[in-house]
């Protein structure tokens, strides 16, 4: 299989056999957190938190330190994570608009989310609003075939808003439960393309009250500190409501989402762990934090 469970490594060399908390352990922890892409600020903050606890003698051994750090990190996520499940409207189609920078996994994630809804007996319609990238429409159509669901599309180069207009109209007429809208990848710094995204969103809202019900930002787990800027600018443009973190089947930990959650108070809905239909999981904060603490060395041993 092309996927690999990174969550199953139980070894934790950093804490193994340590009896005391010393400067070296704190240094190693700094390295571990930075290496997981948590960024300097969050890393300093949790380590300062630990140091304060140490001073007050609230932590006695490496294990309690580890627990304290995990709890602190989890609190950043949990504030808005209590229930990250998507809530569908009582009536009318549930519209999810998927956005993000180039190549993060938007189209693939849509294929996987469609599969998830289908398994819950919901009818799903895909809308190919990426009319820009070469063969993007064909790519989504293949995901449509794999799921055996309909794809609304126009020719390459068409106005994406027009595709969305058609898509929502069709979903309303046919009584679809779920509409997944794929948009073209774009860097958050490209003002004109961000305007285009706003327009797509306006078109949806005009045609269907409350739509889009979810504006999902897709973040690639290998992303570094730029992820913050991505989240902020996409949020400014189209007001995000959730995140999906992809490519967690590699060695990257995706720590940047902790930062994003903290800054923007967004729930993480799903994680992507491969390229196949069922490689999508609900986000589990505990599992995610655990995985952060499994150092790379541990996986190599």
């Amino acid at each position: 299989s092309r996927t690999r469970e990174t969550f199953t490594y139980q070894l934790d060399t950093l804490f193994l056999g340590k009896k005391e908390i010393d400067a070296k352990l704190l240094d190693d922890l700094e390295e571990l957190l930075i290496t997981a892409d948590l960024g300097l600020n969050v890393t300093q903050e949790v380590l300062d938190h630990a140091r304060r606890k140490l001073k007050r003698k609230e932590l006695s051994d490496p294990n309690s330190l580890k627990l304290a750090l995990k709890e602190k990190l989890k609190s950043f996520i949990l504030e808005y994570q209590e229930d990250a499940t998507l809530v569908m409207p009582d009536e009318g189609p549930f519209v999810i608009m998927v956005v993000g920078v180039n190549g993060v996994g938007k189209t693939t994630t849509i294929g996987k989310i469609a599969h998830k809804f289908l398994r819950a007996d919901q009818s799903v319609l895909l809308v190919a609003a990426d009319t820009f990238r070469a063969a993007a429409v064909s790519q989504l159509k293949i995901w449509g075939e794999r799921n055996n669901v309909q794809v609304i599309s126009k020719e390459e180069g068409a106005d994406p808003s027009a595709v969305v207009y058609d898509g929502i109209a069709h979903a309303k007429a046919k009584g679809y439960d779920v509409v997944l809208v794929d948009t073209a990848g774009r860097l958050h710094t490209q003002a004109n393309l961000m305007e285009e995204l706003k327009k797509i969103k306006r078109v949806m809202a005009k045609q269907l009250d409350g739509a889009p019900h979810e504006v999902m930002l897709v973040i690639d787990a290998t992303t570094g500190q730029n992820g913050i800027s991505q989240a902020k600018l996409f949020n400014e443009a189209v007001t995000l409501s959730g995140i999906t973190l992809t490519k967690l089947d590699g060695t990257a930990k995706g720590g940047i989402v902790i930062n994003i959650c903290r800054e923007l108070k967004l729930p993480i809905r799903f994680i992507g762990v491969g390229e196949q239909l069922d490689d999508l999981r609900d986000f589990d904060p505990d599992e995610f934090i655990e995985a952060l603490f499994h150092s790379a060395d541990a996986t190599q041993q």
Partner: protein, 306 residues
């Protein structure tokens, strides 16, 4: 946040004005700031650590020049060192030697391999070469069609691969097909893969065994964080890459991955992608990327003139 690395270094050197030498003490403090700037730019933790240590060594004992403040002087030293590390002079694709020239793109999913294949084909065509695009990604939905569309846009022939073929066979057959079409440069687009995916990494090794490859270019996203070292190192160990292309550089990522990748592979960064258009490929300029990693664009040109 780091537009003000200069300011922060000035803070460090408040007491040291005009004359004197950079001492171990004040350098150490300055290096803490530099390290933070590097980490914020996504330079790998270990790479940043080694880098800072080696610079501290070089800077201690230097006289503070009259035209620069100590802070500016440290930045100048750091910048120069970054430029040296990032590659010194720029390197291009090798087009001489054994013909046809064969260039294979490899890298993680979504890094920009297919788009960059198109860009490179266009660039080489303009130089008078006769490129031949070879789609060897039989996994990603519509990957072959994607390259076909790009080939059509730039008027470059694309090998008629199909998804039921094996990538190694595709490459072998493409060698002959290129000759028949009178093409002298093959650009092979491979599927994105994780460095830990042994099966797919083996596939690339097999292609490398089956046909002579002039260049193996590792295509990396400039927004990559700390994991860049692990990924680049594994690809390089497996394939012995010959160069690197950094994509999506027109955004606001600080691009510390460039330093990490260069450091662990030792391979030159040959091009940067600066847009989705097929003309958005540039020669890599170490000095620009060095400034960017330090987060200080124009400040540096001023310092350099001093």
């Amino acid at each position: 946040m780091f537009e003000n690395l200069t300011d922060r270094l000035e803070g460090v050197f408040k007491k040291l004005r005009g004359h004197g030498i950079l001492t171990e003490e004040n350098i150490e403090e300055a290096m803490r700031e530099v390290r933070m700037a590097l980490l914020d730019a996504d330079v790998n933790f270990k790479v940043a650590k080694d880098f800072v240590a080696s610079i501290a060594e070089k800077a201690v004992g230097r006289e503070v020049s009259k035209s620069l403040s100590p802070g500016q002087q440290v930045i100048k030293i750091v910048h120069q060192e970054l430029v040296d590390l990032l590659g010194g002079d720029t390197q291009q694709i090798r087009l001489d030697g054994r013909q046809p020239v064969t260039i294979m793109m490899a890298g993680l999913q979504g890094s920009g391999k297919t788009t960059t294949s198109g860009k490179l084909a266009r660039m080489l065509k303009e130089k008078g070469r006769k490129p031949y695009l070879v789609p060897a990604d039989v996994y990603r939905p519509a990957a072959i069609e994607q390259l076909q569309v790009l080939g059509e846009r730039i008027g470059v022939p694309v090998h008629p691969s199909s998804t039921d073929m094996n990538p190694v066979d595709i490459c072998r057959m493409a060698m002959d097909a290129a000759a028949v079409q009178g093409c002298d440069t093959l650009i092979i687009d491979t599927a994105g893969r994780l460095h830990v995916d042994e099966h797919l990494m083996d596939e690339l090794k097999e292609i490398r065994k089956a046909i002579h490859l002039s260049e193996i270019l590792f295509v990396a996203d400039s927004m990559t964080g700390q994991d860049a070292v692990t990924v680049a190192d594994t690809f390089n160990q497996a394939l012995e890459i010959s160069g690197v292309i950094l994509t999506k550089m027109e955004g606001d990522a600080r691009g510390g991955a460039a330093l990490s990748i260069k450091k662990v592979t030792g391979k030159p960064i040959k091009f940067v992608g600066i847009g989705e258009g097929l003309d958005a490929l540039e020669i890599f300029h170490p000095d620009r990327v060095a400034s960017r990693i330090l987060g200080m664009g124009d400040v540096l040109t001023l310092i350099e003139k001093a």
